[in-house]
């Protein structure tokens, strides 16, 4: 079945460590890609998105992601995490052949130790 897969269920880092969260999808054709963040007890906020153009996209709060079409991947990165980055991170994909449905990965919980 077509899907969005996030590699890590729970990532624990110390402050100032670098972060990379993996995301792979299995939809063919043109896709739009998103990373959302959900801070504890809060709603989803858009971190960044890719529609077209430069495959390296920069988002809010120092996050960036790279779209690698050949690998069907859209990994999220941040060079130096902070305690305030502790949250759940969701990768999501809209595929043209999915009727506009936003399909989410299962989420990665990031815990940053002060």
């Amino acid at each position: 079945a077509q899907s969005v897969s996030q590699h890590n269920h729970h990532v624990i880092l110390s402050e100032a460590a670098s972060l990379e969260l993996g995301c792979n999808y299995s939809y063919g054709g043109t896709v739009n890609l998103f990373w959302y963040v959900q801070y504890p007890g809060q709603h989803l906020q858009l971190l960044l998105k890719y529609f077209s153009g430069d495959p390296l996209v920069k988002g809010i709060k120092g996050f960036e992601a790279e779209f690698i079409k050949s690998k069907f991947s859209f990994n999220l990165r941040k060079p130096s995490v902070q305690w305030s980055d502790t949250a759940e991170y969701f990768c999501a994909v809209i595929s043209y052949n999915q009727g506009g449905k936003l399909i989410f990965g299962q989420g990665t919980e990031l815990s940053v130790k002060p």
Binding site: F34, L44, L46, I94, G100, K101, Q106, G107
Partner: protein
């Protein structure tokens, strides 16, 4: 000036009851959605409306009935609540789901439903 708002934020009710969750967006968007987030935080789309018309209806029990009185509002009514309905329900909106090349969804704060 909240973009996507939901009421109530928390809803605790007994099995078998009927309840509604309301959603409003002031972004001028044409498309609105309901998502369910389960206890493992997995998010799945339930419904989508574009200009008051239903366009996405996932395999959701017919106890769930969305209603869109106008394109700024999308309410979710749930009949005969069951224990398995306990979840966080998120409303979202986007400019126009048919403009897939540019469409971005913005989420409301969520409604935590607990069925006892």
């Amino acid at each position: 000036d909240t973009a996507v708002s939901q009421t109530p934020k928390y809803l605790v009710t007994q099995m078998g009851n009927d309840k509604s969750i309301k959603c409003e967006q002031n972004l001028g968007h044409d498309t609105m959605y309901w998502y369910k987030q389960d206890s493992k935080k997995f998010l799945k789309i339930m419904f989508s409306y574009n200009n008051k018309e239903l366009i996405i209806n996932e395999t959701v029990p017919n106890r769930f009935s969305p209603k869109s009185p106008d394109k700024a509002h999308l309410n979710l009514h749930i009949n005969s609540l069951e224990l398995g309905d306990s979840a966080v329900y998120f409303c979202a909106s986007s400019q126009d789901v048919f403009s897939i090349s540019t469409d971005t969804q913005y989420f409301g704060p969520g409604t935590r439903l607990t069925v006892l």
